[in-house]
């Protein structure tokens, strides 16, 4: 090489190679970091038995503990709606305090800043910006299984919301069977 290309060209070439190799290394690390940081799809976490079908009567919400794949316990409310069982993550959609079920009003109330969710987990009062997260839930031969979290905003969440009829405008103060929903989303 030496002598074949003028000195200045050789310098330029070396600089170019240096830049290319350096960028390649940086990109490689960035790629690995991105793959590493990407959380696994949570909704795919293993199903867990949380009780019998008869443990969850209509018109009430029950708190069960679901331990996800990370071995970390999470509170899940199970509600029997007209269209079957629904499971809501207990963490408020505002700043993630644990919401509390109130049987008298059939609402989930947040003790922190006063958010209120109806029996469909939809935010109806307070600062909460969106409905509660769901969990996968399966009822099979008299047993109830809860699965990983289904976060609000994901397509799966929307599908679940539609399936349970939790879309539309909520008229508060009614029991789940008689809740009136406007057809508009």
């Amino acid at each position: 090489m030496v002598g074949l290309v003028p000195e200045s060209g050789r310098r330029g070439f070396i600089k170019g190679v240096m830049g290319a190799v350096g960028s390649l290394i940086a990109l490689g690390y960035a790629f690995v970091a991105e793959r590493f940081m990407l959380p696994p799809p949570e909704s795919a976490a293993a199903l867990q038995k949380v009780g019998k079908s008869s443990d969850f009567p209509t018109n009430t919400a029950k708190l069960v503990v679901y331990t996800g794949d990370g071995g970390f316990p999470d509170g899940v409310y199970i509600v029997r709606l007209a269209k079957g069982l629904a499971a809501y993550d207990e963490h408020c959609a505002h700043l993630q305090c644990p919401v509390q079920w109130s049987q008298a009003t059939l609402t989930f109330n947040c003790p922190c800043h006063g958010s209120v969710y109806n029996v469909y987990g939809k935010n109806v009062g307070g600062p909460a910006p969106h409905p509660l997260n769901y969990h996968r839930i399966v009822e099979h031969s008299g047993e109830v299984y809860v699965g990983g979290i289904v976060a609000w905003g994901t397509p799966e969440w929307t599908k679940m919301a539609q399936a349970m009829g939790a879309v539309g405008k909520f008229v508060p103060g009614r029991t789940p069977g008689t809740v009136r929903w406007s057809s508009k989303v």
Partner: protein, 513 residues
């Protein structure tokens, strides 16, 4: 044995510096040793050091001007007590009981361990107060104006570190308060546009606060943040030495600095003393006073430790939920958040407000073009800051007030007053849901007009007739409109005496008295 001095041709003020060499410093063996090893003279730093040490300071200064020094002392207190705590703390959230909680609990069982923990706790609280006072004082003096912009900016880094340390340290005991306060505080990260959710996951290492969060926060608390803090303190203090203190400079006679760059004590104007040792002696005295206060607080009021963290927040044998509350210096923000209603207002509060405050703080030295340091030349800046300070104090007070338990009544008051007897009950037991923003049932409980107006279910009070007032029905679980409902929901019912007091007030005509 004097060292041969290097010829300093590059020093423009070489002449001045030879003229004012301080013979006393020159002779000191410490100076000789340090100067030779660090090469202060070679590096041209000797005048700087001498100038700082010999700088004339007023004999009596405003105590608020010592806040920076007090902060330095408090930080040292945190380092010393923190290192001690580390020897007894086991920051793990694996197993039952959690070692993080158990090791903290064990500290409360021995006098000296508890004392050190209490010193750390009170030191941390004192630091928050001192930082606030220091900032207010610096603002009042206009000490962020050119050429001191970087002092202000490095101060903001220190502020950030202090808040970060307070937040991360709060989690370490791993009790209910620690766990849920961290859950709420970190959850704000998810409001960052686009990457918020991923960022929150990164910060916690889990979707919700978990063992990884504890490990991460421990690392931040004992390594990352103290490191940044120490380095930034270096820059901050160096800049103060280089630029001097605003009010000290301002009070010196005009042209004094130029004439006596490395002043001799004998040249000082009247009432002035050298920084070393006089001002440093004052600093030591102030630090000692603060130390005494810390010791008294630590010896009398122990740092709180609640029940062990419960992620699901339903203690097995207990039916009442734990209600998370913020630490006192976030009561202001807490109170503001409670007033937000719906997504837009909420985003304005959680995302908008901190961003605006942050932006104003960072840009302050560049926005405020008014060169004057004197209070009476800066009406706009001081008014705005005054309103802001009032807002912070007021919301803190309101947040605190909203959490005070109602006074215990043994028997119904015959002729109660709305403001004296009823409001405390409403504020304590009803306001968490029916507060400033009409949350539940569109019912606003903390104002007279709100009570009288009623809510979604109609009028709540029929003056003169407690037995036909919805308010009383709901408190006594007798409402036909809402069968089976007893207020306050999910909490213990009000006592007979409290309900009786409210009924008597209605009987008297429900007056705004």
């Amino acid at each position: 044995m004097s060292q041969p001095r290097e010829p300093r041709k590059t020093q423009p003020d070489a002449e001045t510096s030879t003229e004012v060499l301080d013979p006393e410093t020159e002779r000191s063996p410490v100076w000789k040793y340090v100067n030779r090893r660090l090469g202060l003279e070679k590096a041209g730093l000797k005048p700087l050091v001498l100038e700082a040490m010999n700088a004339p300071h007023p004999r009596f200064m405003n105590p608020l001007d010592y806040m920076g020094d007090i902060l330095m002392f408090l930080f040292m207190n945190q380092v010393i007590t923190g290192l001690l705590l580390m020897t007894h703390y086991n920051g793990s959230a694996m197993g039952n009981p959690f070692p993080a909680y158990q090791s903290t609990l064990n500290m409360t069982h021995s006098f000296w361990l508890a004392f050190v923990r209490d010193m750390h706790f009170w030191g941390a609280n004192a630091m928050v107060v001192a930082v606030a006072v220091h900032m207010a004082r610096v603002f009042y003096l206009g000490a962020y104006k050119p050429p001191r912009e970087f002092q202000w900016l490095s101060g903001l880094v220190l502020l950030g570190c202090t808040i970060g340390l307070a937040l991360s340290g709060y989690l370490l005991p791993w009790d209910q308060q620690a766990y849920w306060a961290t859950e709420v505080a970190t959850a704000m990260v998810k409001y960052v546009p686009f990457i918020g959710h991923d960022l929150l996951f990164f910060l916690r290492g889990c979707r919700y606060t978990c063992g990884s969060t504890l490990t991460l926060f421990f690392a931040m608390h004992v390594v990352l943040l103290p490191l940044i803090l120490v380095l930034t303190i270096g820059v901050h203090v160096l800049l103060v030495i280089i630029h001097g203190q605003v009010d000290v400079e301002a009070r010196l006679p005009k042209g004094y600095k130029e004439k006596h760059r490395l002043g001799q004590v004998s040249d000082f104007p009247k009432g002035y003393v050298p920084f070393w040792p006089d001002t440093i002696a004052n600093m030591t005295l102030y630090s000692a006073a603060v130390a005494v206060i810390l010791v008294i607080l630590a010896a009398t009021i122990p740092a709180p430790l609640q029940a062990m963290a419960n992620y699901v927040n339903v203690p097995p044998a207990v039916t009442t939920y734990y209600r998370p509350l913020p630490v006192w210096y976030f009561l202001n923000f807490y109170q503001i958040l409670k007033a937000a209603h719906g997504s837009l207002e909420d985003h304005l509060m959680v995302l908008g407000l901190p961003m605006v405050i942050g932006a104003v703080l960072v840009l302050l030295p560049f926005i405020d073009k008014n060169p004057s340091h004197r209070a009476k030349d800066r009406p706009i800046a001081l008014t705005v800051a005054g309103i802001f300070a009032f807002g912070v104090l007021y919301t803190t007070y309101a947040g605190w007030k909203s959490e005070q338990a109602a006074p215990v009544l043994t028997k119904a008051i015959a002729h109660p007053s709305y403001s004296k007897n009823l409001l405390p009950i409403f504020s304590a037991d009803c306001a968490p849901c029916h507060t400033t923003s009409p949350y539940l049932a569109n019912f606003h409980v903390t104002s007279y007009s709100g009570i009288m107006r009623g809510g979604q279910y109609g009028k709540s009070v029929v003056p003169g007739h407690p037995n036909s007032s919805l308010l009383i029905h709901l408190l006594e679980k007798k409402s036909k409109k809402l069968p089976g409902v007893q207020m306050p929901l999910g909490a213990a019912p009000l006592s007979k005496a409290q309900i009786g007091t409210i009924a008597n007030w209605i009987k008297d005509g429900a007056k705004n008295n």
